[in-house]
Symmetry: C2
Subunit: 397 residues, 2 copies
């Protein structure tokens, strides 16, 4: 059995479903229910409060953070888990702005995932100190860098198109202008090779419910470059980031290094669910995953372009410029995606007309890519999407 | 079987352990592992991304929030779940300060749980706009209220002593002076009768891993008075609080009412764990729980004072002035608590010398209270605490 056949056998994938939406919510590792069940009964149930020490729940955010760190080129002790990606974005931007008090601009791009922009907007309104959020087109970011900018905050992989920024080039150029750089790795961690230390990123944040298969609403992570970690102010300064949380001092004193980016009590059950997926990630190399992902995406693009001319590619054609997803434009994309899901191929839709498909080597293979296109061809050729039930919008699309 | 015998039978309590620490981490409801297991396999596993609609994960923070709301006198639609208590404190204080832009002081007391103070300290440093956090002694809070104060933030029940503030009196007095009031209900929800609507609180926050038995790191809740909910700015403005999260607009537009206090993707697994405990809470009335809690605490105080004169009560003697916990001072309290735990009675310790015991009618009865005192008497009389292994401090105490 090849390595990816092995990993595939470790996920629960419903019969008759080709799941091309692991870029939105990864599937359930078969080991997760028993692993979570054990934690619930043998740790919470039997150890109760002593679990914080005896099962070292207290160390879990750092322990799991180190495992995530391995997938994104972060050294041990530079990543910690907790909260949600939105919260971690806020924390990173607030902390970074304080490191450049002389500058007032946060630069991002208009392809960034909206919650990142909303969180910054909320932060800047609270600060009420002349800051502004400027948005460039993704392709114009490099030219928009200047010495007026305090913080560059970008999502490496565009959630709609899969277009990939060059982290190394942009970070280097930003640093040359004195700009701090925050990378959102929501669509990168477990999808592409990331080298946080190598590209000298200042901060990075990401979620674990997509390619890392931690389950719906799985905890986020934050990375702080080692050189900053002992001097950054965490902004969200909760007791778990305190130097001595159980001294119950009235005054805050930031903990050592990345520990200070912890905020409240760690989400033990959710982090435990994530551990089962990280066990699978331990079996593969990110280099192999990336190579296979490009193969799968290239195959999908070739098949769709050959057999489905009604759809227009809305992702970079060059695999090295793309994340682990492929998007095609189709005017009736919303209804077509609902029809496709109904016929067993699960992707998703992003306004205004993007049909989005994620390719995840841990559990998707070439056979499924071709089978998915077979069904897509049926949906498009036979206009299976042209039914009222497929056109009715649901709350989550 | 009485109602409390029934509820007691629904918790997993390890053989030979008398658990008097439900005020720190509630025990595992027997139904939780299967309920979480079902969610993992039948929802995440089988529905995958469609679970957001088909299992209405998207509505879970409000649905669970309404169930928590019933226990704290909050009307439907005024409570939402998510994040941690520290984050919700930050959100409430940041939002409240914006409603009183003409005032610069946040008042709290020096008995408040430190993370609340740390989060405010971090917020005020970020705002850097002349705000300050002032701390009064708990008994002096009423006299410290003035028209200079923007926000009064208090924890109703003191985490060390169980001393209870009068929410109604303090809220009324604060409002008369134009002060907004935030109540932290960490040690109140499921412990004492709370009437948020009746006392006209502006905001409230709390956690669910203590008396609400949601498990280690269970999600927090936030309450916003209906009169404010549609006009408050959420400060932590994440996409789940957006009016139309799946429109992916670049600009933030706050959602209706309490929904806007949502931030990131909801923690579905953790909220599911909490649901099993709320099923038990549905079986009892908070009035009965409170009456029984006072009985248990009174019994414990009477027994300890009769049989253990070495210990000094550090909680209000009047049950109506106390939460659902009792604290005794003892100079060797740390070691004595470790010895006590080793002998099957689990309470906890809070510096400098507080031995803390929680009494939770859902699963603790009179027989256990007396049995716990029997063991406590042994520990104290025979100086069982006087061993090196009990004196060595662990990370979490």
């Amino acid at each position: 059995m090849s390595n990816f056949e092995k990993t595939k056998s470790m996920f629960h994938l419903p019969d008759g479903m080709i799941y091309l939406d692991g870029n939105s919510l990864g599937p359930l590792p078969k080991a997760t229910p028993a692993h979570v069940g054990d934690m619930l009964t043998k740790e919470w149930g039997d150890l109760l409060i002593t679990g914080w020490n005896k099962a070292d729940w207290m160390g879990q955010p750092g322990r799991v953070g180190d495992r995530v760190g391995k997938l994104i080129g972060a050294p041990a002790g530079s990543v910690v888990m907790g909260d949600t990606l939105s919260i971690k974005v806020y924390q990173a931007v607030a902390s970074a702005l304080e490191m450049r008090p002389d500058r007032k601009i946060v630069l991002s791009d208009n392809g960034n995932f909206p919650t990142d922009l909303y969180m910054v907007d909320g932060l800047l309104r609270s600060l009420d100190n002349g800051h502004s959020l400027q948005l460039a087109n993704p392709e114009d970011v490099e030219d928009a860098l200047s010495e007026d900018i305090a913080v560059l905050m970008l999502t490496e992989v565009d959630y709609r198109t899969g277009r990939k920024h060059d982290m190394k080039v942009l970070t280097e150029k930003a640093h040359a202008l004195g700009i701090l750089v925050i990378w959102d790795l929501a669509h990168s961690a477990g999808a592409v090779e990331v080298d946080l230390a190598g590209c000298d990123a200042d901060f990075a944040v990401g979620c674990t419910y997509k390619y890392l298969n931690g389950g719906p609403g799985a905890p986020a992570f934050i990375y702080v470059a080692t050189k900053h970690a002992d001097r950054v102010r965490p902004a969200l300064s909760g007791w778990m980031g305190h130097d001595s949380p159980f001294a119950f001092d009235l005054d805050y004193k930031a903990g050592a290094g990345i520990e200070r980016m912890r905020v409240g009590t760690p989400p033990v059950i959710a982090l435990t669910a994530l551990e089962s997926s990280l066990d699978i990630w331990d079996m593969v190399s990110m280099t192999d995953v990336r190579a296979k992902s490009i193969e799968l995406c290239d195959l999908f693009i070739a098949e769709v372009e050959k057999r489905c001319p009604q759809l227009t590619l809305n992702s970079p054609r060059d695999g090295t410029q793309r994340g682990s997803q492929v998007t095609f434009k189709f005017d009736e994309g919303y209804a077509a995606m609902q029809a496709l899901i109904d016929h067993g191929v699960v992707g998703d839709f992003r306004a205004p007309n993007n049909m989005r498909f994620g390719f995840t080597p841990l559990y998707i293979d070439e056979g499924e890519v071709v089978a998915a296109v077979d069904i897509l061809v049926d949906v498009i050729e036979q206009k299976l999407w042209d039914k009222p039930q497929y056109k009715q919008r649901s709350r989550v699309t």
